[in-house]
Structure formats: C-alpha cells, structure tokens
Amino acid sequence: MSRDGAQTAAFTNGRSIELDAIPTLTLEGFEDAVLDAVADGERVAAMFGAAGERAAEMLLYVVLASDHENRLGVARTVIDAERFPSLTPRCPQVHLFEREIAEQFGVRPEGHPWLKPVRYHRSWTGRDAWGRAAHEAILPGVTEFYRVEGDEVHEVAVGPVHAGVIEPGHFRFQCHGEQVFHLEIALGYQHRGVEQALIGGPGPRSIHYAETAAGDTTIAHATAYCQVVEALARCQKSARAQTLRGVALELERLANHVGDLGALANDVGFLPTASYCGRIRGEFLNMTALLCGNRFGRGMVRPGGVGFGVDDARVAELLKRLEDAAEDTAVAVNLLWDTPSVMARFEDIGRLPKQVAVDLGIVGPAARASGLSRDVRQDQPSGIFRFAHLPVSTYDAGDVFARAYVRWLEIQQSTDFIREQLSAIPSGEVRVAVGALSPDRLVVALNEGWRGEVCHVAITDFEGRFGSYKIVDPSFHNWSGLAYALRNQQISDFPVCNKSFNLSYCGHDL
C-alpha cells in the first residue's frame, strides 16, 4: 500500500507473505516508510537484520504495526555491511533494535546516540561494531556508563546477582542524595543464544526454545511460535484448540498479574495482600497444571493445536477453582485500594507520561497504564480473540498505581473471558497434523502476553527452514520505560517501580 510515496507490503497477524512480495526500498525510502508510519501512529513491532546476497551488504527488515487499521506492514532495504545511518535520533523507539543489529551483525548505525552492546556477545558475522579484536574478551556490563558529575553526586551499582530470587541484571543509578537523576540498565547476563539456535529449524528443540524464551510467558511465546509454523504450513487448527489456547493465555495473565499485585504490596510493606496473592498466584498456576500437567504451561501449546484436551469433568473442576480463586483475589486485591498507606506509596510514583510511552514504543499494561489503548487482542487479534472481544483496560496516570490498577482490571476481564469460553467450548480435534513449511516466505505472529506484545518473525529459506527467526519479548520495548520512570524518584522507590513493570531479563536477553 502507498502512504506519502512510502511503500510497505500489507498483511495481517499470523498470515505469511512471499519474500518476493516484500518491497526492497532504497535506504531513503525505507527511512521514510518507518518515519511516516510512526508519525501516523504506527509502531515498530520488530526491526532486524539478515544476511544479504553479497558479503559486503546486508538486509534490514522492519515490521510496522498499524493498530487502528488491524494491519501489519513489512519492508526491507539493502545496507552496507559496515555501517548505516541510524534512525534513532528521528525515531527513538528503534534505539534498542539498532543496538541489537549492531551487536549481531557488526554493522554500525552511524549517529546512534547510545550505541552500546545489548547482550554482550560476539557478533554472528565476525565483524565488530565497536572494533573489538577477536581475542579480546567481551565482559558483560563492561561499557561506558552514562555519568553525572558534580558535588555530592554519587553512583549506586547493583547486580548482576540481586538480593532476592531474581534474574541477573546490572543497574547503575546516578544519585544526588536520595534522588535518582538517571538509571542505566545493562542486561545480557541471561543470553543463551535462542534466536541463533532457531535458525535451521523447526527441529525437536524449537518449541522448547519458544516455551523457555521467558518462562513466565510460556503460553504467549509458544502460541506465537505455533502461529508462525501453522501460517507457513497452511494448517487450520480447530476452534476448540484456539479456545483452549486462549484460556491458557488468560490463566497465564491471571497468575502473573495476581503475583505482581502481591509483590507490589510486599514492596510497600503491606503484608496481608502480599501473602494472600503469593498463595493465590499458585492456584492459577495449578489451574494451568490441571490443563497440561505443568504449572507454567509446558506442553500445552503445540503446532497444530494444543497438547492436551479437556472433558466436561475437567472443565467443571477448572471453573470451580476459577470461582474460588477469583473470590480470594477480589478480597486480597481490594485491600490495596482501601488502604491509605498503600495508596500513598503507589500514587505519583514512577510516572511514565503518555507521550514518552508512545515515543519509546512501550507495550502491554505499562502502555495502557499511561493511557494508551494498545492491546494485541483488540488491535491485531488472532485465534479466539477474533471472535471474543475483551475490553481494553486503560488508566491515565502512568504511575505505579495505574500499572497496579490496570492489572486488577485485566484480572477481572480475564476471569470473565475464561468463564465464558469454558461454558461454551466448541467441539473438534484438539490437534491436527502440521505439514512442511513453505519456502521463501515471511510471517509475523503477535500475541498479547501478560507483559505486552510478544512478537515472533520468521523467514524461511528455499528449503522451508528458518533462515531468520526474530523474537521480540515485550520487555525489549519496556526496559527503557522503567529507566525513564525512575528519573527524579527516590532510589528507595526503585523496588516498587521495578515491580510495577516486572520485566523479563531472559525474554530480553534470549
């Protein structure tokens, strides 16, 4: 389609497109396509590199999401393998994508204002964007951190090993007394090579890579992977399987949202809700285990459908447990809003203004808590969400309270959704056979995981194997939002701000 002369190929979530149908734009045309789309309110869902035809060049792909028109756009351009002009100064939301491309392909985005490694690994091509020698060790967290200097300014360094049972990451705070001027977050400690390992697939491990990309988001990532495979194999899954995937996805949201509200209560020292929600979260995990035997949903979502069916007795048991847990959750969570000491610690803390959320490309509850009506289930629906519409829960304040309250609204929506779906579950096979993947195609699968948009992009080679596989966990977009939200806050508010985003390290590091 055409927009001010900029060309992208239009398609939708979970549909594949021939590689030949994707326009290869000039570099200027590519930049215009991205800038025009973002100016029009579209988002950069993914931007990634791929090997070019010649060694001296490479391909740059962009996937743009038009949420208002329920449409995706994809375009590519050929760039020099050594350098390309950075888009970040004109389009901040691509900043981390460009850093990632620089690290993976050893290509330098010229003019990038913050060009640092993302995951601290050697490039896939042998070239190095920072000119580091091949024998030079790459140490995680060793980079030039942004520094504030002046009287009484001090630096606080935390991690990678944290005080709680938390994944590793390194945080540098530039502080003046208790006040945080700036927070820089260095990740990469969890990098285990997931995207690279998916190339050449599908293989026996592929679904397991998806299930463990971020363990608390097993259903959303596994569903995205399966949508990729099913689109490329032109496989039609049953309505029953799609319903069960939707139920599992919402159970995942319930477990995590309830757990987060408990953890937020804990971080402000309000122990009743902390201890109740900690326990209730386990009830939701056990409901997922009732479906598939595993509390995190391992084995539930499989190419062609789901790994486990349900009979009437199981559905009845699930509904009964859902009602019990929903009642306990309501009592535990409503205590938060009724307790002034909790509200005083939630309100006006860690504000993320709406425009900043737009500029940084924030997704999920964090975006909705800043007033953005942004939800894949509404904007780019796939599977059961094409038929069952969940209202999008938003709040305008952009603070810790808003991120907590949006979760509470979503808990209620998800509970209603599961109740509705399970009481009229369509019949049919739960899993159908999946054939070989079509060669030379690209597919994008988007899913609204509990943290926000989970995006998988696959490109098949001439034999129908993955030539490129890009995973964008919502955390990839949102870590910058947390860093921003900490500005001018007290450093003692970091835990509650951090928990209000509750981002994934492993999903970011892959």
Partner: protein, 273 residues
C-alpha cells in the same frame, strides 16, 4: 482495619501440613519420573532418541533416560510406537549423585538423595541459609523457588531461608545453564560463601544445560563452575519436588533413599564431601 480482619478470616489458614501430613496433590497430568518397558522396544527403532530435544534418551543396548537433561516434555513417550515409556506421577526426583538421575529398565526407581553428613547436619540441620543465583535459564525455576516462600509452603518453618548475600549463606541454590555472561558472577558468589558450604542445582538447565545444552553461550550447567551436592531435575521442578529434595538433604524425609538393589545404596557421608 475491619476489612483487613475480614480478609484475614476469609483467606483462612493455607499452609500445607506436609511433610507431617500428606503432600499436596500434584495435577493428575503432572509428569514425574518415567518408567521404561524395554521388552516392548522394536529392533532398530530409534524414535524416542530422535524425538528427544536434549539428547536425554540414549540407546546403548537398552534405553536410558537422563533426568538431568529431561524436560519432561514426553516427546519420547509420544514418539514411541509401542508406548514403552510412561511418565508417572511421582514428584520425588531429587538425588545426591549425578549418575543416579539416569533411569534404565533395571533401576527405574531413583535412588533419592540421602541426608548430608553428620557434621553438616549439625551445622545446617536446623538452619540452612541459601543464596539463590540465577545463571541463565527462563525464570520458571526461580518462580517456583519463590513459591516455597509463600504462606502455602512456608519454607521458613524448616529453618530454610533464602538470604540476600552470599556472606550470610551456607550454600547456593543455582538455576540456569550458567551462561558465559554469568560464569564469573556465579564463581565469585560461590567463593564468597564461607566453608563448609553446599550447592543445590535446580532444574534441567542447572544440571545439564537443559534446552540450551551445547550452546556456545552456556557452560552446560553449574557443575562446570561449582561442585553440586543436590540435583533437583525438572523443567521447571514442581515446588514439591524442590522442597522434597531440600528436606531429604536435611534428613527430614528418608523414604526412598535406599531403593536400589541391596549393596548399591550409598553411605550418606558421600554426598556432601
């Protein structure tokens, strides 16, 4: 205030009586240790080996499953045309010796972990402080370790506590395949724990690398960096499996420790040398 009192009454007392009472019920579809009926194997069939994502299933005269690598995905069982492999519901999986995680037809019942030696038991038996190190992986193991701290399980009643510093700890609880980027941090954390100390590896990643086995970016589990005293398999292990393992190490649970044929049971003091 009244609402808080109402909530307290409404939520009730939820801590499991286990291990004094029965263990909480695991889901009927829960996948625990497998059994192998080798008599059913067809000549030349390698379906289970080829289906396994992590090389946990091997054929060397007989089928073996290494639970240290196993993701409990049942891809092997689903691939078997004769249904010779069956994953059972038993949550007890923790062992003290790496080789005890290998299941074959003759030793289908795991030789579960025995208590640490008398000296360590005197030190740690009533108060075990652990520092958790997340070293790669997907955060699911960490999540189900955290669950043990909730009121449902109340880990504190056993004197087990997860502490904020290795200087306060008697040992480490390691998760993840140990990425190259976490190797140094794990080593330094281990070194910072005073002797004597123990290490517990939780999950397939920490035991063998799990789904990331043989990736250049990982060290194939914690054993490449630190010695391990207790192996808790699973992807991720159920909280009950983790708790069962810890309580065995502390000598609070003893059933199942000597299930191997007589003569093969290990003396307890071999574990935490």
């Amino acid at each position: 205030m009244l609402k808080m009192i109402y909530a307290r009454m409404q939520q009730g007392h939820r801590t499991t009586k286990y291990p004094d009472g029965p263990a909480p019920q695991v889901a009927d579809r829960f996948r625990g240790a497998p059994t192998i009926d080798v008599a059913r194997c067809r000549d030349g069939c390698r379906a289970c080996v080829e289906a396994c994502p992590t090389g946990a299933v091997t054929l060397g005269g007989k089928v073996r499953i290494d639970l240290g690598r196993c993701l409990f995905c049942t891809d092997c069982a689903d691939a078997c045309p004769e249904h010779a492999i069956v994953y059972k519901n038993d949550y007890r999986l923790a062992v003290g010796v790496r080789s005890d995680l290998i299941v074959e037809q003759d030793t289908q019942i795991l030789s579960l972990a025995a208590a640490m030696n008398a000296k360590l038991l005197k030190l740690f038996g009533r108060s075990l402080k652990l520092r958790q190190v997340s070293a790669g992986g997907c955060n699911a193991c960490e999540a189900d370790i955290n669950v043990l701290g909730t009121v449902g399980w109340d880990l504190g009643r056993f004197g087990i506590q997860l502490v904020a510093s290795p200087r306060h700890a008697d040992g480490l609880l390691v998760t993840g395949p140990v990425t190259r980027n976490m190797e140094l941090a794990l080593k330094k954390t281990y070194d910072a724990v005073a002797e004597p100390k123990i290490v517990i590896a939780v999950g397939a990643c920490a035991i063998s690398g799990g789904p990331y086995l043989d990736h250049d970016q990982v060290r194939n589990g914690a054993e490449a960096v630190v010695p391990i005293d207790l192996y808790i398999p699973g992807c991720p292990p159920h909280p009950l499996t983790i708790l069962d393992g810890m309580l065995r190490l502390l000598g609070r649970i003893e059933d199942g420790t000597e299930r191997k044929p007589a003569g093969q049971a290990r003396p307890a003091d071999l574990i935490a040398s």
